[in-house]
Amino acid sequence: MEFILPLLGRFHPLFVHLPIGILLFGILLVFIPSKTNATFLPSIRIAFLVGFIVGLMSAISGFLQYQQEGYTWDTVQIHLILGWITVIFSLGLYFQFRKAQELTQPLKIQSGLIFLFITLTGHFGGNITHGEDYFLEVLPPGLLATFGIETQTVAQFTLDENSWEEALFYDGAIQPILNYNCSSCHNPRNLKGELDLSTIKGLMKGGENGEILKVGNLKESALYARLILPHEDEEHMPPAEKRQPRKEEVELIKIWIETGASVDKTLAQATVKRTSVQAFFRKEENPFFPITDLKPVSSDTLSILRGKGFFVEQISADNSLLRISCLNFPAFSEKDWKSLKEISEHITYLDLSDTKAPESIIDSISGLTHLTTLKLNGIEIEGKGLAKLKDSKNLKLLYLNSTALTLENLTQLDGHPSLEKVYIFKTPASGQEKRDFSFHLETGDFLLPKLASDTIVY
C-alpha cells in the first residue's frame, strides 16, 4: 500500500483550487453591500467552514507531495508556510463569523487579509510548478527592460577558435550544451523525470529510470539515445515542441560518451577533431553593414526620393541604413545630390552607375560615414580626388568598372583603413601590370581556354 501516500500527494494540484474558489466566494459575500449587513452571514459561515476543510486537505496533500516527490525545502518553503497560515486563519475566521451578529470592520479587515494570503500562496505555488518567470517569459523584452527586470538567458555554447583545444571537455563544452538545451527542465528546482542536468553530480545520478550515462555505450546512455529518437517519439528529448539542440551539439555529446565521458580531460586530450567543434567557434561580430542607433528615415522622405527616381530601401527591417540606387534614374546629375544630403548619414550602399554623376561627386561621397558599398561603374571620372574616399571609414567594396581609371589613380586609395575590394573590370587599369595594394584588386578580363573537348560531340 506504499502508493497511497504519493497518490494522495498527486491530488494536490486538484485540491488547491477548491479553497481558492470557496474562500474567495466567502470573501466576496463579505464585501457585497447588503441591506442589513447580516443578510449573507449564514452563507459566509458555510463558505469559510468548507473553505477550511478543503484547505486542510490541500495542505496535507501538498505536504505529502513535498515529502514524496523530491522537492527541496528551499523551493516549497514559502508556499508551504503561507498555505498552512491560510488554513489556520480561515478556521479562525470561521469561528469569529459564527459568533458575529453583523459584519464589523475588524471582520472585513481580516477577510481582506486572508484574500492576500490566498493570492500569495497561489502565486508561490504556481512559481514551483510553472517556474518563476512564467509570466515574465511571455512579456516582450522591451517591456521587461523598462521595469528593470533582467531576463537571464543562458547563452548558446561557443568556443574560442584559438584556444578550443585547452577547453575542458565536460566543463567547457558538454555542461554549457546541457545548460542551454536541457537545464530549463532538468534542474534542482524543476526535476523533470527526476533528472538534474545542471551539474555533473546530477548527471551521474541519473533520473527516475536510473543511470542515463553508460560510458562508451551510446544505446544504453539515455542522455544521448533520447536525443536521436525520431521527433514524434514520446521519449524524444527535448520534447518535440521545444527548441531542439543543434546537430553539432548532439554530435559532441556522442563523442564525449564514446571517448570515455571524462570530466577532467581537455578537448585535445580526448582527441576531438577540429571539424567536430568548428560549428561552435564564435563568429566575429563584424557585420557587413554597420550597426548604428540612427532613427529610420521617415516614409515621407523616402517617398519623395522615390518620386525623384531613386531606388531607396532600408538595408533590413532592423537596420535603418539605406540602400540607394539610380538603376531607374540614369539622368542623375550633380544637382540631384542635394536631395540625398538630408539622409547622407543613412547611406550605406550607393549605386550611381551609368549616371551623369560628375567628378566632384567624390567630394560629396567622401562625407558619408556609414558607406560600405560604392558603385560608380561607367561614370565619367578622371579619379583625381579618389584619396578623399579614405574618409569613408566603413567603405569595403568599391566598383569602378567601365571607367577611365588607371592604377595610378588607385594608388591614392592604398592604405584605406577598411577597403577590401576594388573592381576595375573594363578600365585601362585592368590592362596594366599588377601591383600590390592594401585591398584586393579585381581586374577581371577572364577568359576560358579553348579545349578540344569543347567541340567533341558524342
Partner: protein, 501 residues
C-alpha cells in the same frame, strides 16, 4: 452595338446604380449592418478610410511589387538558380566513388534494394561504375570529373552539398518539391516567395524571370515557377532568348508607341475616376500595372538583347545570339541580375539519362549535355565575379534528384546504353556567391554513393538557407492562406551552417 459602346453603357449604368434608392435597399442591407458595426470594427473606421483616401497607403497597396526591406541584413540581393531538369548524375560529375568501379557489372547487394522503390529498376540490377575520370581541383581539392573541364577551374568559388536527399523519385513531383517545397501543386515557388518578400528593384522589369533551354519546359509544367496561393503578380515571367522575349508584350502592327501611351492614359484616367468614387486600392494597383507593362515594353527587349555584348564575352560564354540555348540564358541571367532582377530561374531540359537511347546515356548523351553547360556556367561565375556581382548574387545549381549507382534495367531487361535510374537518397548540388563559404564541401555518401551517411541535407534545409541569405528567417516568413500561415519550408528546414560564410 460595338464593344466600346457596350462597355461605356455598362459603366454608365453602374455609376447610376450606385445612386438609386432601389439599389441601396436591395444591395446594401448587409452594408447598413456593417455601417452600424463600423465604430466597433476599427478597420472600417471612417477615419481610417478617410486617411487611406488621402493616399496614405503603403507602397504595397499601390504596387504589389514595391520593394520592401527583408527582416535582417541580407548576404545576397539576387539569386540565379540553375535547375538541370531531368536530374544529372552526381556519380559522373561530383561524387567520386572508386569503390563502385570495382563492383561494376556485379549484381547490386540485396541490402540496398530491400524495401525500396525505384522508378524503372526491377528485380536485381547490376552496379554501374563511374563512367567519367575524376580528379581533384583547386585549393579546396574538390572532386570534379572530366565531363566538366571548365567548371573544374572555378571550384574554389563554390560550396558543394554532396548528400542532398529528397523523398520524390518522379520528375514532376520532385521538381515541384525542389522549387516550391511541396511535391503537390499549389505552393508558391522560391522565386515567388522572394519577390513577394522583397519586391522588384528595377521598376521596369519583373522581379522574377524564368529562362528555359533544352527544347522543353520542366515536366512539372509552369507551376514550378508559379505563385501558388500568393497573388499572381509574384509568379515568374518566362522570357525567351529566341523570338519575342516576352510573348504578347510587343504591340500589334499598326499600334505606335504614342497610340499605346494615349490608350493607357485613357484607361488610367477612367480608373482614377473610379478610385475617387470607391477608394479601393486595388484600382491603384491596376493603374500601376498598366504603367509598368508600358515601361517593360521598352526595357525588357533591351536587357534581353545580347547582340551588343562584346566579342570577348560571347567567347567566354560560348553564346550564339538568336538561338535558344543554355549559354544565352546564362549571359541573360547576368544581364538581368545586373539590372536589379531579384530572381532568375534557368531550366535546362535533357538530363534524364536512363540509357534508353544514345541521347539518354551516361557515357555519351550526358557528355553532350555537360558540354552545353560547362563553359556557360563557368563563364557566368567568372563574369559575375569580375563585375563584383558575385558579392551580392547567390548562384544555385542542381537537379530535382540524383541517379542510382545501379545500371537501369527497365522492365528487368538490359538497356542498349548505359544509364541510371532516378534516385533521391543522395545527390550533389552546389551554391556560390553572396554569403556562401568558398571551397566548402558538406555531405558524405557511402562507398557506392547510394545513401548519405553524414551531413545530409534536405530540400527544406536548402530552402531555409536560401531564404536566410536573402535576409529571411524561414520560420517566420509566412503567408496566411485558408486559415493558416504557410511557409516555404513547411514545418522543417535547418540552416546549413557549414556552407555559410
Amino acid at each position: 452595338m460595338n464593344q466600346l459602346e457596350r462597355l461605356l453603357k455598362e459603366f454608365g449604368e453602374q455609376k447610376l446604380q450606385n445612386r438609386t434608392r432601389r439599389h441601396f435597399l436591395m444591395d446594401c442591407v448587409s452594408k447598413v449592418g456593417g455601417l452600424a458595426m463600423a465604430p466597433l470594427l476599427f478597420a472600417c473606421d471612417p477615419v481610417v478610410r478617410a486617411q487611406s483616401q488621402a493616399l496614405n497607403l503603403s507602397g504595397r497597396d499601390l504596387n504589389p511589387l514595391a520593394p520592401l526591406p527583408p527582416p535582417f541584413a541580407p548576404k545576397a540581393k539576387s539569386i540565379i538558380y540553375l535547375h538541370m531538369a531531368g536530374a544529372p548524375s552526381q556519380l559522373e560529375l561530383f561524387d567520386y566513388k572508386p569503390e563502385l568501379l570495382k563492383y561494376d557489372g556485379k549484381p547490386c547487394p540485396e541490402s540496398l534494394l530491400e524495401g525500396r522503390q525505384f522508378a524503372f529498376i526491377r528485380g536485381v540490377p547490376n552496379l554501374l561504375g563511374p563512367q567519367a575520370k575524376f580528379a581533384q581541383h583547386g585549393e579546396s581539392g574538390a572532386w570534379v570529373s572530366d565531363y566538366l573541364p571548365h567548371f573544374s577551374s572555378v571550384v574554389d568559388e563554390v560550396a558543394f552539398l554532396k548528400a542532398v536527399h529528397t523523398d520524390q523519385f518522379n520528375h514532376g513531383p520532385a521538381q515541384l518539391f525542389m522549387q516550391t517545397g511541396s511535391p503537390r501543386l499549389g505552393r508558391p515557388s522560391i522565386g515567388s516567395w522572394v519577390t513577394y518578400g522583397l519586391g522588384t528593384e528595377n521598376q521596369n522589369l519583373p522581379g522574377f524571370v524564368v529562362l528555359t533551354s533544352g527544347g522543353k519546359t520542366p515536366d512539372a509544367g509552369k507551376s514550378v515557377w508559379g505563385s501558388g496561393f500568393l497573388p499572381s503578380v509574384y509568379q515568374g515571367v518566362q522570357c525567351r532568348s529566341k523570338g519575342d522575349p516576352v510573348l504578347y508584350l510587343k504591340d500589334p502592327d499598326g499600334m505606335t508607341r504614342d497610340m499605346k501611351k494615349s490608350v493607357i492614359e485613357a484607361i488610367n484616367s477612367t480608373n482614377e475616376e473610379s478610385f475617387k468614387d470607391f477608394g479601393d486600392p486595388e484600382i491603384l494597383a491596376r493603374i500601376n500595372q498598366y504603367e509598368m507593362a508600358y515601361r517593360m515594353q521598352i526595357e525588357v527587349p533591351e536587357v534581353m538583347n545580347i547582340n551588343d555584348e562584346p566579342k570577348a564575352i560571347h567567347e567566354l560564354y560560348g553564346t550564339n545570339p538568336g538561338e535558344e540555348s543554355f549559354a544565352n540564358n546564362c549571359l541573360l541571367a547576368r544581364k538581368l541580375v545586373e539590372k536589379g532582377v531579384r530572381f532568375v530561374q534557368l531550366y535546362d531540359w535533357g538530363w534524364d539519362t536512363h540509357g534508353t537511347s544514345k541521347e539518354e546515356s551516361i557515357d555519351l548523351g550526358l557528355r553532350n549535355k555537360c558540354r552545353e553547360i560547362d563553359r556557360p556556367i563557368t563563364a557566368l561565375l567568372l563574369d559575375l565575379k569580375q563585375r563584383g556581382l558575385l558579392e551580392e548574387t547567390l548562384v544555385v545549381w542542381g537537379g530535382e534528384f540524383g541517379r542510382t549507382p545501379m545500371q537501369e534495367n527497365r522492365e528487368g531487361k538490359e538497356q542498349g546504353f548505359k544509364g541510371r535510374d532516378h534516385h533521391g537518397e543522395a545527390f550533389t548540388m552546389w551554391m556560390a556567391g553572396g554569403g556562401i563559404k568558398k571551397g566548402a564541401s558538406y555531405g558524405l555518401t557511402d562507398e557506392f554513393g547510394f545513401s548519405g551517411i553524414d551531413e545530409r541535407v534536405s530540400v527544406h534545409d536548402i530552402h531555409a538557407s536560401i531564404l536566410h541569405l536573402m535576409g529571411f528567417n524561414h520560420e517566420k516568413f509566412t503567408y496566411d492562406f485558408q486559415g493558416r500561415p504557410f511557409r516555404l519550408t513547411d514545418v522543417e528546414g535547418e540552416l546549413i551552417h557549414s556552407i555559410l560564410a
